[in-house]
Symmetry: C2
Subunit: 277 residues, 2 copies
Amino acid sequence: MNDPTDHKDNRAVFILSDGTGITAEALARAVLSQFDVPFRKVRIPFIDDAEKAEAARLLIETEGARGKRPIVFSTLVKPDLSAVVRRANAVHLELIQTFADLLSAELGVVSAQAIGRSHERPESGTYRNRIDAIHFSIEHDDGQSHRDLGSADLILVGVSRCGKTPTSMYLALQYGLNVANYPLIPEDFQRGTLPSALKPYKHKLFGLSIAPERLSQIRNERMRDSRYASIDNCRWEVAQAEKLMQREGIHWLSSTTRSIEEISAAIVQECDFGRKE
Amino acid sequence: MNDPTDHKDNRAVFILSDGTGITAEALARAVLSQFDVPFRKVRIPFIDDAEKAEAARLLIETEGARGKRPIVFSTLVKPDLSAVVRRANAVHLELIQTFADLLSAELGVVSAQAIGRSHERPESGTYRNRIDAIHFSIEHDDGQSHRDLGSADLILVGVSRCGKTPTSMYLALQYGLNVANYPLIPEDFQRGTLPSALKPYKHKLFGLSIAPERLSQIRNERMRDSRYASIDNCRWEVAQAEKLMQREGIHWLSSTTRSIEEISAAIVQECDFGRKE
């Protein structure tokens, strides 16, 4: 599957996996980000038999014949499958096997060379826990439900559109945490207190804040030229929310320059949640 | 951050990152799954200065002094930071730098040795697109809204609790796709047609099915001993849903033995969505 935006003269990078390819892709992105060179990615997931490996080999050969030597990021570990792929003329980077070989020597045991699992099995307890966390977090998005807040691992608070919802979903999906989120709204600032439903759970609260300029830009994408999106209103709301969080002793961090992956990992670290596994 | 469930005598595995550690963790999991040996994971994200690198080195040394030589999975690429960590007596696996060095030779350019980004920057278009997709997918969870279905990239259908919601969230988060999901319910089976709101969007529909035994088990966790969760009812609903999808020409796959990551990657492959980037 090619990215339509990729230019066809760029060097081809193949991302091969016997599974979803998600781990291979994340590592490939990190490695390629070290080079200021344009690449064109071709993803081939679910290579779990010799026929699919052969099809991948052919694609790599075809690309190589048309231009520069392709680069292959592969998480294939079954020796028969990777042997097929390696016959293609390319730079082969074996993401799992490289390190499994190194560890094998240290541990004094041979590696299983079985299809590598970077995700949990659907029947595992950890996996069920993640699925339940997603349902919990959707049910408790945007202050929709006060029910069962006692089961929340974490309650995110902050002004509307500062990043609470996507962060909640990511924490549920990646870390299996039950995350509720509550907006802080002008009524709360006028009263000068937290929403009353949250008061019994102060120890579970974590705040997000954001630069008013960025907030105004995000809100304008949805509701152009509204009072809600105006820079003056955004400045006021952010200042009020930060004042309220400070007074209530709620830790917060800014989402302005952080991705949801970064916000989530920082929260997990700060709250000292072990991953539930 | 240690996992409380890990036994303290197991060999320590450190997962070090200058960012979130999510990519390092996924690859470490895949590599370690090749060995039938118990490990104890210690995660140290956000190592972005010499002081934090030194703190990590100390922790590794302390672990090593207590027992077996620790294993270090690291995505650190800044030479000054990785040099500090490498002074610890451990097996050092450099997840990014190992491959950046190999590529550097092939590309004839030196790598930036800059902090590696496996996630997008929050100000990028791709990132905003993912955030918007999460909001879209939550708004269109469980048939909640018919509004703006024209903007959906994909509409998942299937019986209640077959995995539509978590799959929708994952597709939004990971691939930036706008995914609505609609339950197929007994009323639809009695009428023998799709919900009318979906008819204009038949080309966007993708089905999920599930083994009735698994479905009954999942539903029983929520509503024990209900008719909804009974194996007879689950058998009937699944058979009806599959019949309806077959008649309407809707492709589907089974979620029974697949994780949401696997279901999502399979859908993306089958529907030939390029990742929006």
